[in-house]
Amino acid sequence: MSRLNAHEKKTVTFKLNGLPVRADAESRMLLSDFIRHEIGLTGTHVGCEHGVCGACTIQVDGAPARACLMLAVQAEGADIRTVEALSPGEGRLSTLQAAFKRHHGLQCGFCTPGILMSLDALISARPDAGRDEVRDHLSGHLCRCTGYVTIVEAALSALDEIRREVKSNV
């Protein structure tokens, strides 16, 4: 296996929010930096660069992942979603986004994109999640402003709304 050079760039191809991306990245470049600074989607935030705060959480092939713990080159072939993809249409909010606004689930907004991506994945995977599961899931994120109560309420409200929608569609 050949040794990688720090400055050597590799072409990376993946799907980002439904659109194809093809760009060159140094092999050492973090996926978080690649998305923010090479592609210019700055909704994904970087709070610690050591995988603890969760601000940079995105979805990779449907599962939440820390963008600061992945290299851009590792995204080859992946289907990636960031906070910019959550809105169902221009000027509209997803059920989860609307619940965050309704329940005052954010203050400075810096940790919010990562938390939204994480909870969005939880809602898809575990639509019957309850309070304890939400708190447990949320404990993978740091928020310094809210004390988490309103985020928990927002998530539970979104889960409830989505369950009712599913029920009424059956």
Binding site: G47, G109, L142, G147
Partner: protein, 781 residues
Amino acid sequence: MGIEGIGASVLRKEDKRFITGKGRYTDDMVVPGMKHAVFVRSPYAHAKIVNIDTSEAEAMPGVIGILNGKQLTEDGIGNLICGWMVHSKDGSPMNMGAWRPLAQDTVRYVGDAVAIVVADTRAQARDAADLVNVEYEELPVVTGVEDALAEGAPQIHPEAKNNLIFDWVLGDEQATADAFSKAAHVVKMDIVNNRLVPNAMEPRAALGVYDAAEDHYTCWTTSQNPHVARLVMSAFYNVAPENKLRVIAPDVGGGFGSKIYIYPEEIVCLWASKRTGVPVKWNCDRTEAFLTDAHGRDHVTHAEMAFDADHHILGLKVETKANLGAYMSLFSSATPTYLYATLLSGQYNIPAIHANVKAIYTNTTPVDAYRGAGRPEATYVMERMMETAARQLGVSPPELRRKNFIRSFPHQTPVIMTYDTGDFEASLNAAMQAIDYAGFASRRAESESRGKKRGIGMSCYIEACGIAPSAAVGSLGAGVGLWESAEVRVNAVGTIEILTGSHSHGQGHETTFAQLVAERFGVGIDSVNIVHGDTDKVQMGMGTYGSRSGAVGMSAIVKALDKVEAKAKKIAAHLMEADEGDIVIENGELKVAGTDKTLPWFQMALAAYTAHNLPSGMEPGLKEGAFYDPSNFTFPAGCYICEVEVDPDTGKTEILNFVAADDFGNIINPMIVEGQVHGGLAQGIGQALLEGCHYDPQTGQLITASYMDYTMPRADDLPSFQISHQTTPCPGNPLGIKGCGEAGAIGSPPAVINAITDAIGTNGLSMPASPQKVWAALHNA
């Protein structure tokens, strides 16, 4: 109040951009030709710089320039300042050592900036920074206040002999001694307030852009007070005159005090932009933030409280040693003095108080205001003392407090403050009812039956917000006035812009400030835009800290709205041929009272700008400004009660219930106020249970310099909170606001520790009350 007026929980206007990923923070900013900076920092806590060799680093790919402190000095960039003069008890001014933006001869804490590397990419800058070869000669290190004062301790600044910055006193020493001589009981305690790292989730960042053609600088920065940053960078650091320097604080991801100060990095980025000829962006990484963001708290205190036989407080003596770190940060002298000792009367009638504060240099990160700034430390002393006194005197904690409450206002304390209003018993009663204080004994018995130890503890806090009357703070040593400004621009179509010197970094000003206008003119908040955070757009302002945006910032807006309303009424009266005194403004219309004559708001505004038919002599347009200087501090107060259960096998504390009963005066947006309380409680509970800085005493290395080592409160660490309000409107400002931003962090730590010490039956417990400490306290008891 209307659906969008004062008192309505209006949903936030700013939320949409944050929840859709469209917020614009400093690190999101891109300008043409922008390059990236990394700082070379000292790995030693105390050392002489012998030599800086950049030859190897300069040869690295992408490197544009490497600059050091000698060049900074050559270019006349000034020292960082402390903006508040404090005098020692002998009348001498504080002994402040020099703080160079880039250290030139000596480094004094791990993280002290030595050089800046500018390169095409951040990674290249980092590679090159690693190869800057700084030769150091290590010096002995001291990190704790007691050691720093000891004979023979390492001397950190030549100006501060024995590392003593000042030895300050407040209150009447003789009267206090007399009070103690009459005491029936004296309660004594040694109390440590643990050092914290503010940890706003957005790391600090700066983008400095020098425009050679215009000889003009622009600085995007993560600041709570961009105008103060411009003022200080112009007047003291000689970066550029104010008219040649624009400071923009765009969306800022939390501050909690740590983004008040003007740090070396923004100064150096601006200077480096001129030196290198390229825009220079620096973005802090998290460990860099732990090392260089101003820390909070770090007090070591001995306190004694004297009681008469009837359990009335006679006097209080407090001796505090405050660790200010390696340099004096912007407000570092005020935080442990005028923001601390002035609150040592708490909610209680105390005839005599004497406080002595020694501020001390150590080889640690500079310490300054962090959420609450001095008031959490004062409250912790007072409420640990009151709880301990109740236990030693054998009376119930609420009854001891009740007996000593201040009940008539205004109340002059022996430590400067004049409390204007309050109802401390109302908050105490509300909190006790909310937590079912009377039912605690049976809940404790139930816990005991499961082998668990249950405890309950309270804290009755008072703080001083809305800083502050300019003349008053000026007389106490402040270098600036602490008023606020506002400008109200009514556009020709009737929409409104409010320009404010306050800065929002999570507090929701774009919503609450618009609510003021909705209340006043009956226009929708969507037609009101709040402009802040840009020195080119907004007139001079003093920024957001000390819960001042409501009490001071909004009061300035009210003054400007008064002027707009007066002129609008004159125009409307003229157009409707009515008496000015008969005009009322309701639901976006100007009406002649008692008639059906109305003039829509926008038509009045249009008339102001067409100026075709204005009252004789009136200037066209509708734009008014105001500066508001408060007449007093405001005094939010309240009672917090915490109920915990301790597992004696593991020492782990679980908060079972936490109630907050606060008096914030009048409230503009209850939803936002509740959010502020929640956030403050989380930080206070974090201090009590989880958070704490640790320095290695031999080397001065910060051991807790990442999220793997410093425990931040997470969702599964915290309970839900029961919150209530008891309102006594503040008489000192037009809206009756007291402020709510810091109360949670101020009131909660003693409530938690009082609850745990009640549970385990021993009083010797320091923060953070980790399972290890609680277990040890329990088993050594």
